[in-house]
Amino acid sequence: MFWIAEGLIYRRQDSVFHTIDPRIKLLISMMLFFLSLVSSTIVEFSIILVLIFFIGALSKTLKRMVRTFVFSLSFLAMIFVINILVGYDIMFSIIISLRFISVVSSTSIFFLTSSPDELELVMKSFYLPYDLIFAFVTAVRFVPVIMLDAIQILDSQRSRGLEIEKGNFIKRIKNYIPVLIPLIVQAIIRSEELAEAMESRAYGFSKKKTSYYSLHLRKRDYFAATVAICFMIVFIYAIYFLHI
């Protein structure tokens, strides 16, 4: 199951899309997110999904993006079934399910192609409080570490006879307790250790923090931003005024 989480983790990759300024990558991601919310037909969603997968191919993250896609399939099925059960027709249920998958995939574009350092710089450029930035970026940075912990814990409990996939639905959920408790305890211990290590290295001593890297927009960034904004305008115009 952990291979699915791979679809949400940044990996260094040699691609054109990776070299774009992270603020522009966030803009593209947010634009696709917004278009997913305003779209309401299968054709519109198809265009958005094709575009998302095109970006996936361009950034060489398609394989991992598909994992995010597979991960969201179970939720997608759940959303579809619930919509049918509460009385909506099949078409509406399909639209809602497609919206869900486009929202998840568009968000993953940014996280798959931007390192935690880039994320920090983007948040700094919005003048957010540094404590908030640090907490958020650290959480993102620790996802792979927590994933490794989870694998170790699962191995450890399986070695003591725990059969995670055994039993009915309730039993299966209960089976995860021996995995979740050590995972949470480990996360708390790690956060305390990290806090002490940060304080030992003068975290919070200076009000004004300096940065080794800074963001500068280049030609390719302006080009990518222009293409993204033009696409959004054309898309919205086509939906609301041309009724395509």
Binding site: Q152, Q157, R158, V185
Partner: protein, 273 residues
């Protein structure tokens, strides 16, 4: 018996094999140390013994049963694996319940569970903490608790991953006594460790690994005579061996323990006059 034949293994996300052409047999009643530098494949190899990992090529058989056909739970009944970090295992509200966890999973009867848990906690000097949260124990105590929770179901093979990390001298001594006791009961103890002094005093069979391949598989005394192999595997000789290597021209054979070393020294000093 654990039989490993032409084992090749690689993780799905990796290109290269982590284990290459491993061929070993481990009988009952042995102490076996698996040594090698970081990333040589030691932990990956021991995870094959209870089926947590399955070979890509070749096979691992435990008492004649191929690990490919058996569940981890079924294999763990025979092969108890104690992981390096106790915090990866501990989750129960009390020390007592932590030890009962595996026994309940294996379907032991209530009376048997009580008897075994009591024995294990007493043996590891943890019985006074039986109603305490295991999270409040010290690092050494947690490590002993993990060992107790494995020994409680009496597996034939006990695999210890870095058992001496974070242990003081007395705890190491205690652990060595436990290992020796297990051997008298015809159990096999497989130890993955970098603690060369600890390993030397046990005089085990040593399997040296380098880049996923077995470089040497022999008794302790012979392994430390093979300078090329131990250098290749990033293992250093115990200080004891190092010292007597230098004195080799003066000795009929290298001493095996401290007592023999002492008497050899005394003889040398008398000779020297």
């Amino acid at each position: 018996m654990i039989e490993v034949k032409q084992l090749y293994f690689k993780y799905p996300t990796m290109k290269d094999y982590v284990l290459k052409n491993i061929n070993i047999k481990i009988e009952l009643g042995q102490i076996v140390a698996i040594m090698g530098s970081n990333g040589s494949g030691k932990t990956t190899l021991i995870k094959h013994f209870n089926g947590l990992l399955k070979p890509n090529e070749g096979y691992v058989k435990v008492f004649g049963k191929d690990t490919q056909d058996e569940s981890v739970a079924a294999l763990s009944r025979k092969v108890g694996l104690v992981f390096q970090n106790p915090d990866h295992q501990i989750f129960s509200d009390t020390v007592w319940n932590e030890v009962t966890f595996a026994l309940k999973n294996f379907g032991f009867e209530e009376e048997v569970i009580k008897k075994r848990v009591k024995w294990a906690l007493e043996f590891f000097n943890l019985i006074q903490y039986k109603d305490t949260s295991p999270l409040l124990l010290s690092g050494g105590e947690k490590k002993r608790l993990c060992l107790a929770s494995i020994l409680a179901w009496d597996p034939d093979y006990i695999v210890l991953d870095e058992p001496t990390v974070g242990q003081d001298f007395l705890q190491k001594e205690k652990l060595r006594e436990v290992i020796k006791m297990l051997i008298t009961r015809n159990k096999t103890v497989i130890i993955v460790s970098h603690d060369i002094e600890f390993i030397w005093l046990l005089q085990p069979r040593i399997i040296l690994l380098s880049n996923g391949e077995v470089v040497k598989d022999d008794v302790c005394a012979n392994v430390f005579k093979d300078d090329a192999s131990i250098d290749k595997c990033g293992v250093i000789k115990p200080q004891f061996v190092e010292l007597f290597d230098h004195l080799a021209p003066l000795l009929p054979h290298p001493p095996l323990d401290v007592l023999e070393a002492r008497s050899t020294f005394l003889k040398l000093m008398k000779k020297g006059g």
